[in-house]
Each structure stands twice: as structure tokens, then as C-alpha cells.
């Protein structure tokens, strides 16, 4: 589980993405170091999901280079075995979970293990159960189908499936969307504890200010087709150079969350 924290896990150089003559990204540069939670924020349509899809090789890039753990992946072919092995080292949790509706909860988590390993069925089933236990899902739900689960449970199963092959980098697309504040808080705590336990690098797209303040180590702000700010949450929230970003963290809604979390943080420091 030891990792060289000084080497970037993801490096994006001069990335450009063009859809039908319209540039979504242009000269985008981003370096992400391991073992931390990074949140990507930005206005709707600024290309947050596109960026993640490009790192996951779900979408071709127009120009530039993407490196994953020092390996150039931007020219990989999705059908290559190398690409498949690379993809087994990254995990993605989709916004709606993207669970296989025809498989049970346990089978959903077993699926990638069957695909990549030649372990016995018993071992795979036990490993899948460990993953589900790590995400805190009750054993009574293991034989249920995704349709029979609540939103919070679905997210936990999706997270367990994402972690099935012990990825080093995990992408989470709006992990707390559709959850009530309590469940969202619990899910944030789960993400944070799993990040520590498994030494993960988590890259999260979210609009949930509570999530950003409570678990993010760094915030990446996308705007004007590139990364405009990449800093700690506190520094980003105090950055006045971009009015809309400042407004986001210090507007009527943002300031309440900011004040609460800063007070909470100071309280913890005093203790």
C-alpha cells in the first residue's frame, strides 16, 4: 500500500477537446498527487465530466497528453490488453450508480473480479462481501436487485463495485447527489475513511459544498476551457480573482457552509 507521494498519479498536459468545432478544453494542464481527495468544480457545461471521461479513456482527446502513474494513456486503444489492465487500476462511480440491473448486489461486485482474476467462485464471493462490508451495506441486501434498493444503498453498492479491484485512483461523479443531508454526510465520512484505509486518490465531481468542505484536500476549478485554480479548499474559497468562484463559496448559501466548517475545523484544532 506504500506509494511515492512525490510522483504525480495523474498528469494532464496541454489537453484540448473539440466537439464539432467547439472547444471544451484548450491547453488544460493538471497534476494530481496520490493519496488525497480532489474535487473538481466548475459551472455546468464546463467539461468536468468530459475531463474525467477522457482520463478513463471513455472519450478520445483532440490534443495533448494524459499520464496515469507515469504511463502515457492518451494514445491507448480501448481494446488493447494494456488499456484494460490500466483501467483495472482506476475505478469510476457513476452518478446513478450504473449497476447492472439484471444482477444482484453481490453479483454486481463480483462482476469485475470474475472478469480480471481466475480466483475460485468462493473466494470472489467472499472478497465481494468484504468490499460490501467496507462500504457499510447490510448483509440482508446482498441478494437484492438494484431496483429494490434505496438511493443511499445504491451508492454504497456502486462504491463497493468501484473498489472491487482495489483501484489506486477512484473517480466519483456527484457521489452525494440525490441523498438526504444525513445520508450525504454519512457517505462523505465513508469516502474519507476509505480513502485513509485504502490509500486512495479520489477525484470527485460535486456541487455539494458540504462534501467539498468536509472531505476535500484540494479543489480544482475549471473555467474558460482550462484549470483556473488548483489549491486547498480554504485558499480557493478566499480567492477573489474569479468573482463567480468567490460568490460560490461566499454567497448567501456558501458562506453558511464555510463558516460552519471553518468553526468546526478551528474547534478541532483547539482540542
Amino acid at each position: 500500500m506504500q506509494e511515492d507521494l512525490t510522483k504525480p498519479i495523474i498528469q494532464i498536459k496541454n489537453l484540448g477537446t473539440c466537439f464539432d468545432g467547439k472547444w471544451v478544453h484548450k491547453n488544460l494542464n493538471l497534476t494530481i498527487y496520490p493519496n488525497r481527495i480532489i474535487t473538481i468544480i466548475g459551472a455546468s457545461g464546463c467539461g468536468k465530466t468530459t475531463l474525467v471521461r477522457e482520463i478513463l479513456m471513455l472519450q478520445p482527446i483532440t490534443e495533448g497528453e494524459i499520464y496515469l502513474a507515469g504511463e502515457k494513456i492518451s494514445n491507448y486503444n480501448i481494446e488493447d490488453s494494456t488499456t484494460k489492465l490500466t483501467l483495472s487500476r482506476v475505478g469510476m462511480m457513476f452518478q446513478q450508480g450504473a449497476l447492472f440491473s439484471s444482477l444482484t448486489v453481490l453479483e454486481n461486485v463480483m462482476f469485475p473480479l470474475f472478469e480480471y482474476t481466475d480466483f475460485s467462485k468462493e473466494a470472489i464471493s467472499e472478497i465481494a462481501q468484504i468490499k460490501l462490508k467496507l462500504t457499510g451495506l447490510s448483509a440482508s441486501a446482498y441478494n437484492n436487485y438494484p431496483k429494490e434498493l434505496s438511493g443511499g444503498m445504491l451508492k454504497r453498492v456502486a462504491l463497493a463495485r468501484t473498489l472491487a479491484l482495489d483501484p489506486k485512483v477512484v473517480f466519483l461523479d456527484e457521489p452525494t447527489s440525490g441523498l438526504d443531508p444525513d445520508s450525504a454526510g454519512n457517505f462523505d465520512a465513508l469516502i474519507s475513511s476509505l480513502q485513509h484505509q485504502l490509500n486512495l486518490t479520489i477525484i470527485m465531481i460535486t456541487h455539494d459544498l458540504d462534501s467539498i468542505w468536509s472531505i476535500s484536500d484540494e479543489v480544482v476549478y475549471l473555467g474558460n476551457k482550462k484549470v483556473l485554480v488548483h489549491d486547498t479548499v480554504e485558499n480557493v474559497s478566499n480567492n477573489k480573482s474569479i468573482p463567480e468562484l468567490y460568490e460560490y463559496f461566499n454567497g448567501p448559501r456558501g458562506i453558511v457552509t464555510k463558516t460552519y466548517h471553518l468553526a468546526h475545523k478551528n474547534g478541532e484544532n483547539k482540542k
Binding site: M1, T117, S138, L165
Partner: protein
């Protein structure tokens, strides 16, 4: 002990190994205990050698790295030793991995509150379930038909409330787009039947009777049936899939919560559309099939097109044609209704859409042939 297994570029790993030293009663674990570098079969083989041993030391302090799956397999080694009454006197791990390993070991040893493997019933249970499913499906079809009739009555009272755009869309997809397939097959069937039968007529010197044969067989039986089968495959399946996807995406629930009947919004327009389209394409396919037959009659039997038409007009009663069209109306109705019914039966998963689409086509074709048999009896009784 194991061969280098992982060749991935991203993470260079050495294989996970287990070495047993009988002299010192020590198991040493080496290498990377990652999913990509663990060979479960080899591990089991290595553990099988450990027999007639009372105590053992396990040294995992030299492992390079470990993930959840690696921790699971190390925990399984300890479990195996315990099960075989081998006492582990000493177990060491790298300090950085201790807490993580303990967590995974605890998760593995947590008792299961619920049985995880699905329960399977005996043969009696399975037969019982099948009978129950069949009876409840039959009941559901009758109920569905009843609901349709109620909504049809509503449509007859106020026909303008119907989604006519949807009707036209259905006519376009079931009729216009399906026309060329139905026509092509009808032409080929006309040609084939005429070719197959022409030697028989020639033997008896009754060449001209090919017209009577083709007129009755094609117009009354073959073309309506063939067209219905094509429509069941194309339109029936597409109706099921369309409604099924809507069901999965809760669009039907949305329609219901708006106080709109899904029957009026979805089923009626589709059924009406198909009922309008199918007789029309059957009528056209009838003509094309006759043309196919006439072509063969002209080339092989020396019956010119004009003579063929004259004979058709004089010897083949118009009833054959109208019977075919009436049958196609019934076929269309049943195909569309079955398509909609199966669509509504879709449960919330992707497999279910496939299952119901298959069911829709199979059930549609079976019912079409069944109704065809009933029509044959009715027409015979009525002397048509």
C-alpha cells in the same frame, strides 16, 4: 515459487509467494500481495502440503505491498491453519499494514446474519411456480384486454382526445417502413409457390388452374399470415421494447401520476395505428404476390398477364381477398395488444426487456396462427 504473473506497465509487481520451511516450522510470505500477483490455485497447493504440524510461525513482514484482496488471502491462510488445528505461535506483518490487515480480517470473520446463497426449490416447487406464473399471466392478459376495452369505449365516445400523432407515427413505422419487407417476401412466396406447383398443373394439362390456386392460397391464407408474422417480428417487438424502456425509466409512472391513463396515451394509439397499417400492407402485399405468381405463370406455363388477370377476376371470388384482409385486421389487433402487454410486464432491469420482447414475438406468432385456425373454421362454417 510462482512465475511472474503480472506484466502490466502501470504497476510493476512481483508475484506473491508462500514458502514453507519444515525445519523451523515457518511460513514466509514474500512479494506483492495484490490481486494481479496472487495465484490462488498455487496457494491452495502450497497449503495442502502442511500436514501433521502442530505449531507454526507465519512471517509476512517481508511482503512488499498488500491490497484488500491480498489481505483477504493472508487472512484465509490463517483461517486454513486454524481449521486444520495448526497453532500459529507467531504472526508478523509490516507495521504499516497491521491495522489495515486487522480490518479486512475482521470483515472476513464477521458472522453472516443472512444466508447469502439464493434458495433453490425442489421440482414440485418449480412446477408449482410455473403453473402459478401461467395462471397469473392468463389472468393478467384478460385483465389487460378488459382495461383496453374500457379505454376503447372511451375513445369511441370522444375520438378527438386520442394522441393522433402517435397513431400516425405507428402507421409510419409499422406500415410504411415495413411495406417493402412484406412486399418482397410476398413476391418471393408468389414466385416460389407458382414454381413448385406448376409441374403438377402441367401434368394434368390444367395450367390455367394455377390462377385459382394462387388466388385462393395467397390471398386468403399465405400473404395475410406472412405479413402478420413479419409485423409481429418488427412492430410487436419494437412496441414491447419501447414500452419496456419507458417502464424501466419510470415514464409510465410519470404518466399515471399526471392522471393520464397509459392505455389512452400508449396502448390505444399503437393498437389503432397497427390495425390501420397492417390491412393496408397486406392489401399491397397481396397484389405484389399475385404479380410474382403471374410472372412465373407467364414464363413457365405460357399464361399471359392479361389472361391471368381475366381468370383471376372470373374464377377467384372476391371473398378470398376480403377474408384475408379481415383476418389481417384481427392479426394486427392481437400483435399490437400482445406487444403492449409484454411491454407493461417488463420489470426494472435490462434482462427483462429482452425476455419480454422475445415473449412478445413468440406469443404474437402463436396467437396469430391460432386465430387463423379459428377463422378457417368460421369461414368453412359460413361457407365462404
Amino acid at each position: 515459487m510462482y512465475k511472474e504473473k503480472s506484466n502490466q506497465k502501470l504497476v510493476k509487481t512481483t508475484a506473491a509467494t508462500l514458502e514453507f520451511n519444515a525445519n523451523t516450522a515457518l511460513i514466509s510470505l514474500h512479494g506483492c500481495w495484490l490481486w494481479s500477483s496472487i495465484n490462488e490455485k498455487q496457494l491452495k497447493l502450497d497449503l495442502a502440503y502442511l500436514k501433521n504440524i502442530k505449531t507454526l510461525q507465519v512471517d509476512a513482514s517481508k511482503i512488499e505491498t498488500m491490497d484488500t484482496i491480498g489481505a483477504y488471502f493472508i487472512a484465509k491462510i490463517l483461517q486454513h491453519l486454524k481449521r486444520h488445528q495448526i497453532k500459529v505461535t507467531h504472526f508478523s506483518l509490516p507495521p504499516s499494514e497491521k491495522e489495515f490487515f486487522t480490518q479486512i480480517e475482521n470483515k472476513l470473520n464477521e458472522p453472516h446474519k443472512n444466508k447469502v446463497s439464493p434458495e433453490s426449490g425442489g421440482i414440485i416447487t418449480l412446477i408449482g411456480l410455473d403453473v402459478f406464473t401461467f395462471l397469473s399471466s392468463t389472468f393478467d392478459i384478460i385483465k389487460f384486454f378488459g382495461q383496453f376495452c374500457v379505454n376503447l369505449a372511451g375513445f369511441l365516445i370522444s375520438p378527438f382526445k386520442l394522441e393522433w400523432n402517435e397513431v400516425i407515427r405507428t402507421i409510419s413505422s409499422a406500415g410504411v417502413k415495413g411495406l417493402w419487407v412484406a412486399s418482397l417476401l410476398a413476391f418471393l412466396i408468389g414466385v416460389t409457390l407458382a414454381y413448385e406447383m406448376s409441374p403438377q398443373f402441367v401434368n394434368y394439362g390444367a395450367n390455367i388452374y394455377i390462377v385459382n390456386f394462387l388466388g385462393i392460397a395467397l390471398l386468403k391464407e399465405v400473404v395475410p399470415l406472412l405479413t402478420a408474422i413479419i409485423v409481429a417480428g418488427r412492430t410487436g417487438a419494437s412496441i414491447t421494447a419501447e414500452i419496456g424502456v419507458m417502464k424501466v425509466q419510470e415514464e409510465i409512472d410519470a404518466i399515471q401520476t399526471m392522471g393520464i391513463s397509459p392505455f389512452r396515451r400508449l396502448v390505444l394509439p399503437k393498437v389503432i395505428g397497427v390495425v390501420i397499417a397492417v390491412p393496408l400492407i397486406t392489401a399491397i402485399a397481396d397484389i405484389v404476390s399475385m404479380f410474382g405468381g403471374a410472372t412465373v405463370a407467364n414464363n413457365s406455363l405460357g399464361i399471359g398477364y392479361v389472361l391471368f388477370l381475366q381468370r383471376l377476376q372470373s374464377d377467384v371470388a372476391i371473398n378470398n381477398y376480403t377474408c384475408g384482409i379481415i383476418k389481417s385486421l384481427a392479426f394486427a389487433f392481437i400483435i399490437a395488444l400482445v406487444g403492449c402487454f409484454c411491454g407493461f410486464k417488463v420489470k426494472g432491469n435490462a434482462n427483462s426487456i429482452g425476455e419480454q420482447t422475445t415473449k412478445s414475438v413468440v406469443l404474437g406468432i402463436i396467437l396469430v396462427v391460432f386465430i387463423d385456425a379459428i377463422f378457417a373454421i368460421i369461414f368453412k362454417t359460413l361457407g365462404i
